[in-house]
Every structure is written in C-alpha cells, then in structure tokens.
C-alpha cells in the first residue's frame, strides 16, 4: 500500500510540475494519482473520500480565473491522498504529518478566488489554523508522552480537543467560520467544509483511543459540553441568518458539534464502531451537502429536487444518509451513557429544520442544467446510497476500529 501511495505522490508531483505546460495535464494526473491511491486501499470509506475529492477537483473547474489554476487540482488531490492514507497509518509522527499535509493546502485554497485573491480572509483563516495546529500538536505530544492517568493526560487531552475545535470550527471557537464562509469564494469553501474535515477527526480518534485511561470519563465531560454548545450555537445562529453561505457556516458549526459528540465513545470501547459509523456518515453527509449547496451558490441557482433532497438529508429524513448518520450517533451516545447529549442532539435536529428548508428554497430555481448542477446531482446520489441500509458501512467501520490503535503508545 505504501508503495502505491508513493507512486501516487510521484505521479502527482510530476503532474503538478507540468502546470507550466498545460493545466489540463495537471487535472488528469491529479485524478490518476487519486485513482491509484484509492485502488490500493479499495474500501467503503475510501470510496466516499475519493468520490468527494473527485467532486472537489471537478468543482474547481467552475472557477474560471483561479490564481493558481492547475495547481489547485494537485493540492486537492494531495489532501485526498493524505486523507485516504491517514486511515491506515499507525505511526504517531506520520499522523501529525498528515494533519499538516491536509491543513496547509487549505491556507492557499482559501485565498483563491475568481478575479482577485482574498487576502483578508486568508489572514483570518491562517491565524486560526496556526493556533489550531499548534494546540493540536502540543496536545497530541502531551497525550502520547504523559504518564498513565495523570494531570498531564488531562491537560494534553483538553489541549488536543481545543485544537481540534478551532480546526474544524466548533463553538465557541468558531468565529472564523461565518466570516470565511461568507467572504471567500464558494468553491474553495466547499473543499474546506468537506474534504479537510476528515483527517483531524480520524487522528483525534486514533490518539484518544490509544491513550484512553481511567481519567477519560472525567475529561470527556468537557468534550460533551463543547459539543452541546456547538450544536446550539450553530443551529440557533443559523435560524435567523438570511445569507445562504452564512446559514451554511452555522450549519457547519452544528454538524461539527454532532461529530465531536461521537468522541465521547472513547469511554466505552464496545461501541467505537457505532460512533465511528455515525461520525463518518455525518462527515460524508456534511461534505455532500456542502459541495452541492456551495456549487449552487457559486452558480446562483440550483435544481429544486436536488436542493430539497440535500436539505432533507441534513434534517435527517429516512432513508437519506443524514438519517442514518444521526441514528448511529444517537445510538452510540445512548449506549455509552450520554443520554442527555442524545436528547440535546434530537432537539437540535428539530431546531435545524426551518433553516435547511430555507436554504433549499433560496437556491431552488426549477430545473437547472449545468456542470455545477451535475456535481450537485452526484452529491444527491451519495446521500441516496443509504436506500440500501448501510450495514456494509458498519462492517467496514468494524474493520477500521480494529486498526485504530497507534503503535508504541
């Protein structure tokens, strides 16, 4: 597998170098590299990662005058390869490296726009990300090196979680999210809101599971409280927002709250596969929805049935994927004993209904035939996949939960 990843990286580098010749060459090599990485790891979750990455790369086509036209394909492909690889990495140093590899390309991408580059937004974003990366890495190092069940573990855990919160935009450290989501170009935002979210969560799972000890239930409290705050702030903040991308920003805050909540499962290893299933499905739902909505925002309009399907998936209507993700999150929360958090999640799902419908109504313009709309159609197909009940995904997550432990910790 490592060999295939290496080959993919080589292809990618050579392709990126050819940006001076022809940007279409970069597009081709990026997709080939992605295909190579995926074929080496062939799996239910890597399939979704690869699909989402491919959609991200395709959506970059909509930006006509990107400042780094050509290179952006390679950056997204690099992120995608890192995301695929991170599932299988057991080496602590390599995990941290992957964190940086996925984080740094977004610094560049966030500033890209049609026409002039958004430096203001870039500075805001980079400042937060630097803070997040530092906290995350310090926390990770403290955790891995702390004596068993000590105060250092507690501080390390908290630092890592705070870093994670800033990185993915959990309230009350979410301030960058609404500003960046509304000011930056929708296409890069769709990448930051989708593909970039997987790696921090997976790494956090791996580190927290590997370092769990009798103090974990105590520190998990702080995580649960942050998750609950994030759900409420995200959903209530979105309720009265008028601008669609601002609503989506707060929706991201809420969704990250749901996903953060699944990390409470670290206190009971029996249900890790359930929590992972919920978290991964929710990430996929979030990615599909954000890509579909943001490409529609870029275009200024979307097809009515597609927009409503995505909104209903976010709301959690069966048999769309958004229903299954919330179902697994809720069951895992109940099984590990966080019933109150499950209730908070249900209440929040109810609060979220009006604004998702509002997004769909804002963007719906009958039938739209365009490239952006084709991307939205594929995102809809993704959330419709769970018409077949996702036992297969649960099985994949069961397998994945076995390789979660970091070697040497």
């Amino acid at each position: 597998m490592e060999l295939s990843i290496l080959i993919a990286l080589v292809i990618l580098s050579l392709g990126a170098a050819s940006v001076f010749k022809d940007t279409r060459l970069v597009l081709a090599t990026s997709l080939i590299a992605l295909a190579v990485a995926f074929s080496a790891t062939w799996n239910a979750y890597t399939f979704f990662i690869a699909t989402i990455a491919a959609l991200n790369i395709a959506s970059l086509e909509i930006m006509k005058r990107s400042q780094i036209k050509g290179l952006d394909y390679a950056l997204v492909a690099l992120m995608a390869i890192a995301t695929i690889y991170v599932f299988f990495v057991n080496d602590f140093a390599m995990l941290l490296a992957m964190f940086v590899v996925v984080s740094v390309p977004t610094y560049l991408l966030v500033m890209v726009g049609d026409g002039k580059s958004n430096v203001d937004v870039g500075i805001k974003y980079v400042t937060f990300m630097v803070l997040a990366t530092i906290l995350f890495i310090i926390g990770a190092v403290l955790l891995v090196n702390s004596p068993y069940s000590s105060l250092m573990y507690v501080i390390g855990y908290t630092t890592l979680i705070l870093g994670l919160c800033i990185e993915i935009g959990v309230a009350p450290m979410h301030e960058w999210v609404p500003d960046v989501f509304t000011a930056a170009d929708p296409i890069p935002i769709s990448i930051i809101a989708s593909l970039a979210k997987f790696v921090p969560i997976v790494i956090a799972y791996k580190i927290l599971v590997s370092t769990a000890n009798p103090l974990t239930p105590f520190v998990t409290m702080i995580l649960a409280i942050l998750a609950a705050i994030s759900m409420f702030i995200g959903n209530i903040g979105a309720l009265t927002s008028k601008e669609t991308s601002r609503i989506l920003a707060y929706s991201t805050v809420a969704n990250m709250g749901y996903i953060l909540a699944t990390l409470t499962v670290v206190i009971n290893f029996n249900w890790i596969y359930l929590a992972l299933t919920g978290a991964m499905l929710q990430l996929i739902v979030n990615s599909a929805g954000k890509i579909g909505f943001f490409t529609a925002i870029k275009e200024g309009k979307g097809s009515t049935p597609l927009m409503y399907t995505l909104a209903l998936s976010f709301i959690g209507l069966p048999p769309l994927m958004g229903f299954w993700s919330k179902l697994f999150i809720l069951t895992s929360l109940v099984y590990v004993g966080y019933v109150w958090l499950a209730i908070v999640l249900v209440i929040n799902s109810a609060i979220s209904v009006p604004y998702y419908i509002r997004i769909a109504r804002n963007l719906s313009k009958g039938w739209v035939l365009s490239f952006a709309n084709a991307i939205a159609l594929i995102t809809v197909l993704i959330v419709l996949i769970t018409i077949v009940p996702p036992d297969w995904f649960v099985e994949a997550m069961k397998e994945f939960s076995k390789i979660l432990f970091i070697s040497g910790v």
Partner: protein
C-alpha cells in the same frame, strides 16, 4: 335465522329511507306525504318477526361472527326477557306508528321524523336481543342519537305548544321553560354523561374476562377477582348508563324536557324504548349475574344503592307529578316514578331471588302499555284543545267518549286498584319489599306504599282535570279515528295482560295472583283506591298552590342541570381557555422571540475584527485549560 334477524332490524330502517330521501328533495314529490305508510309497514314486519320469535323460536343464542379471534361477535339471545321485551317493543312501536300516521300528517319534517322513529325502534330491538355488550352499545348509542333527533324534532322552536314550562317564567336567574332544541340537547348531554363511564366499564369487563357476552361471563369470579372496591367502581360505572337513560335521580331532568318532542315520541320513549332500556339492561345483567348466588360485599353495596335510588326516584317522580299541570310533563314524572320502582324491585333480587326480577319485568310490561295509552290520549287532547296544560270539563268526556273510557281504564289499571292489572304486579312488589324487612326494616315498603298512593292520586288528577273537573275549553274535533283506534288497541292489551295473570296463562305471572289475596296487599290496594277517588273528586287544592308550584318546578332540580353544571362547565372552559392562551403565547410569541434574540446574539460576535476573535478564542482556551487543570488536580 339470519333472514329473521336481518328483517327485524333492517325492515324498519330501509322502509323509512324512501321518505327520508323524498323529503330531502329540492321539490317534494306529491307522494311524499303518503310514504309514512311504508315506514309503518317496516315496523309491522318487525312486529311479525318479534312475534314469531316469541312463539316459535326456542330459547338459546344465535351467533354471527364478527371478530371471532377477539371473541367479539354479534350474539343474539332469545330468553324469557328478550322474547317478551322484543314483542312488546315491536308492538308498541307499531301501534304508535299507526297513531303517528294521523298525528303527524301535517308536519313539516316527516323525513327526519320517520327515519329517526324507525332507527329508534331498531336500536331498541338491538338492545333487547343482544347478549354481546359491544353490540348492545351500538343499539344503546343508536337510541341516544335518535332520541336527540326526535326530542328536538321541532327544532325551529316556533310553536309554543312544543315547549315545556310556562313560557317567559323565570325563577331567580333561571328560565323555567324549555324549547325543543334545548330539550334535545339536554337529553343527549345527560345520556352521554352516563354512557362514557359505561363504555369504560364494558372495556374493563372485556379486559378482565376476555368475553363480552352477558350470559357467558363468570360474574361471580369477576367480582371475586376485583374485590369490593373494584366491584363498586366497575358496577357504578356500568350503571351510570342505565341510570342516566332511565332518568334516575339526579339525572331526571332530561326526561321532563323530553316532552318538547312530538307526543308519539314521548309515548315511544316512555313506554318501551329508551328509558325502558336502562331498567331492561339492569334486569338482563341481574338475570345472569344471579346476585342471590353471589357473595360479594361490593355487589351488595351496589344493589343497596340501586334499591334506594330507585325507591327515592319513584317517590320523587310521583310527588312531583302530583304538582304538575302539563299533561305530558305529569306523565313524564310518573314514568320516572315507575322506572324507580322497576329498579328497586329488580335490585331486591339480591335478597329475594329471581322472583323479584319477574315482578320488575312484568311491571315494566304493564307500565309500558298503560303509559303508551295515556300519552297517546294526551297527544289527542293536545290536538283537539290546542293546549298542553290539563284543561277540559265533563263536556270533553262527552264529546270524546272513547278517549275518556280508555283513560279511565288505563289509569285504574296502572295505579294498582284491585282487581285491575297492575294490582297483581304491585301486590307482588309489596310482598318483595315486605321481605326486605329483615335487611332494611320497613323503609323500602313504606317508600313503595307512599309512592303508590301518590301515583294513584296524580293518575286520577290527570283523568279529572282533562275530562271532568278541569277548566272549560273549546274543542277542535275533526278526524282522530286512527288515533282512537291506536290507543284503544293499546289499552286493550291491559285487559289481555289481566287475563294472562288471572288466568295463570303464564306461569311466572300466575305466581303474582296469590300475592294479590294477601291481606296487606289488599289494604294497600284499598288505600290506593281511596287516594284515587279523593284526587278524582278534588284534583286541585287551591290553598296548597305554593307547594304545587314547588313540585311542578320539580323541586328546583333544573338548577342542577341548567345552572350549577353549566357554571362548572364554564369554569373548566375558562381554565382551558387560559391554557390555550398560554400555549399560544409560548408557541407564537415567547419561544420565537427568545430564539430570535439568541440567534441575533450569537451572530453579534461576528464583527469581522480578527483581534476580537483571537481574544475570544484564546480566552476560551485559557479558561477551559484552567478549569480542567483545577478540576483534574
């Protein structure tokens, strides 16, 4: 068998559909006023079937599967009670139907009238023949619905003749007169009040025993299983249905104002259907509970309650009737009194045995014929005098000789003057109450005798004030032949019953004969005769008119119905209104505005200033780390 059952129930209903449709048409066809004959024909078919069942069908049950897996089926029972009661119902309904052909011929709502009249009869027949409690409830609710339709038949409230009470009269804040639409509402609301607990009781019986068939339930085991308190609650809930339907205290008011309906309706309602349904049901379940074999304290309490409630209602009804001046209201009060006696007598079976049920049942039969007769006569009188109050001097007796004779015979037969029909049944009832001396002293017997004396007095008063000593009135005599025929046929049944009893043609009724020759019974009979004669001679005592007013105002019981209960209802409505407003406030004002405020507050952080954001984030990070360090120390 199935053809019989279908004919019995569906013939009256289907035969009244044509007139219901014809009357509903935009332009009434010419033949519409002749269609009631078809409705009466339907009633006649029912009568034939009921008579066939009485004479030719052996005792037993006939089952049509409905929900066999739940043991809920249409179960028709043919036993002593249902055979006689069915024939009685069908016969009286048919005769009243014939009478109605003439009485109602100029009415403005014949479709409505005949449809409900026949549904009423079919519902009662369903109640009579059902062994299954759920099927019985269907008939029971049919009775309630039809009674509402019929009592409020003259829904326009435009005819003073259809009112009850002196129009315009007020006592304190309360109107002491009732319109037909109000009467209909009072009937249905009172009945529903009792039906609800009864419905729950039936459900509880099913849940506890797995069966709804009265004759199959192991009642003794049921009462043993649920204990004294359970038995009390269950039976009282169940009996709320019969109590309200049969107008026992304090649910009697609806019956008095049910007189706003056409007289035919009153006659049917008061003799064989509706009010009789309550006592009939009590007799039916007592028949199969066999309380004389059951040792249950709870059941004994229930029967004591029914006994004294019945006797008190009987006395109340009789005393009130002596003060009434309206023809139909007087008879209504007397019906309530008779129903009380039936309940009391049936309840006495707890201590006396099955004979008490026979007494109650035969009293029901005698009363039905006599009361139907009197109502039909009253209706005829209202027609010819255009007055619903008791008026008429000897001139009326001369001009309406048939009605006069019929009334005399009906009143003396019903009041219990020896040797007429009711005397023998009443004698048996005296004996039943006499037997209760061991349990309750002389109280039941005393109440019964007082009731009997008052009963004879108001019957004589009815006769006297309408035919002999009443005010002079102008008669509008025309036609009336069909009506005369109907009540003559009705009253002749009293003679038939007399023959059956005295001739011992029916073994159980023959038993009453020997009670009639007991000295005590004879003394009571003489006292009744004396009371009857006195009231016939002096029907009104002017000096006592304040008492009479008190009685004709039904001892101000209307205040309970029309004042206290509505006040409670309005109070509840007010509370609910406040709750509604609170919910509206929370859902439409408080919660949305709170969320709006929070939402705007959350978004107010986004000033766009990076330094502010960094302060917030770093502050949060330091705060969380500080808290966790302190807690984790």
């Amino acid at each position: 068998m199935i053809e019989l059952v279908v004919l019995l129930y569906l013939a009256p209903i289907f035969c009244s559909i044509p007139i219901a449709i014809a009357w509903g048409m935009e332009k009434k066809p010419d033949y519409a006023r002749r269609l009631p004959i078809l409705s009466v024909f339907g009633l006649f078919i029912s009568l034939l079937v009921a008579l066939y069942i009485l004479f030719n069908v052996p005792d037993g049950k006939y089952v049509i599967n409905w929900l066999p897996e739940y043991n809920i089926n249409f179960v028709f029972i043919f036993d002593y009670l249902s055979k006689y009661m069915g024939a009685l119902t069908a016969f009286i309904a048919f005769l009243i139907g014939v009478y109605g052909l003439e009485y109602m011929k100029d009415d403005y709502r014949l479709g409505w009238y005949w449809m409900f009249f026949n549904v009423f009869t079919a519902s009662m027949l369903l109640v009579v023949y059902s062994d299954n409690l759920l099927m019985l409830l269907i008939g029971w609710e049919g009775l309630g619905l039809a009674s509402w339709g019929l009592i409020g038949h003259w829904f326009r409230d435009d005819d003073p003749l259809s009112y009850v009470g002196i129009i315009g009269r007020k006592v304190w804040k309360l109107n002491m007169f009732w319109s037909p639409s109000f009467g209909g509402w009072r009937a249905i609301s009172t009945i529903r009040f009792g039906d609800m607990p009864m419905f729950f009781a039936v459900a509880a019986i099913y849940a506890l025993t797995g069966s709804l068939n009265i004759s199959e339930i192991d009642w003794a085991a049921l009462f043993h299983h649920i204990g004294t308190a359970g038995t009390l609650i269950l039976m009282l809930c169940f009996l709320m249905g019969p109590f309200t339907k049969s107008a026992q205290l304090p649910f009697s008011e609806w019956l008095m104002t049910a007189m706003t309906g056409p007289t035919t309706v009153s006659a049917l309602l008061h003799s064989a259907t509706m009010v009789a349904a309550g006592t009939y049901l009590f007799m039916r379940i007592s028949w199969y509970i066999e309380p004389w074999h059951v040792h249950s304290l709870g059941l004994e309490y229930v029967y004591i309650l029914v006994l004294f409630l019945g006797l008190l209602s009987a006395l109340y009804g009789a005393v009130v009737a002596t003060g009434c001046l309206e023809r139909k209201v007087l008879l209504a009060a007397s019906t309530m009194s008779s129903l009380g006696l039936m309940f009391a007598s049936a309840a006495a079976s707890m201590w006396i045995g099955k004979i008490a049920l026979y007494v109650a049942f035969w009293y029901l039969i005698v009363h039905a014929f006599a009361k139907a007769t009197l109502f039909l006569v009253a209706g005829h009188l209202i027609h010819v005098t255009h007055n619903r109050f008791c008026v008429g001097d000897i001139d009326v007796a001369r001009k309406m000789r048939l009605a006069f004779i019929v009334t005399i015979f009906a009143t003396i037969s019903l009041s219990g003057i020896p040797p007429f029909t009711a005397y023998w049944v009443k004698s048996a009832m005296d004996e039943v109450m006499h037997h209760l001396i061991h349990e309750f002293g002389a109280l039941p017997l005393t109440l019964l005798i007082l009731t009997s004396i008052a009963y004879a007095a108001f019957l004589a008063k009815f006769l006297s004030l309408n035919f002999i000593n009443g005010e002079k009135t102008h008669l509008h005599l025309h036609g009336g032949y069909v009506m005369g025929l109907a009540y003559s046929a009705m009253v002749s049944m009293l003679a038939v019953l007399l023959v059956i009893i005295v001739g011992k043609l029916e073994p159980h009724a023959g038993e009453f004969l020997k009670e009639g020759f007991v000295v005590n019974s004879f003394i009571v009979g003489i006292a009744v005769l004396a009371s009857y004669s006195f009231a016939l001679y002096i029907p009104r005592i002017r000096q006592l008119s304040p008492i009479g007013t008190f009685l004709s105002d039904r001892m101000y019981l209307p205040f309970l119905n029309d004042f206290i209960l509505p006040k409670i209802g309005w109070f509840i409505a007010k509370i609910i209104d406040y709750c509604n407003k609170a919910i509206d406030f929370f859902c439409h004002k408080a919660i949305p505005s709170a969320f709006e405020g929070w939402s705007i507050g959350i978004r107010a952080i986004q000033s766009g200033e990076l330094s502010r954001y960094i302060k917030i984030v770093v502050g949060c990070v330091i705060l969380v780390l500080a808290i966790i360090s302190v807690l984790g120390w």
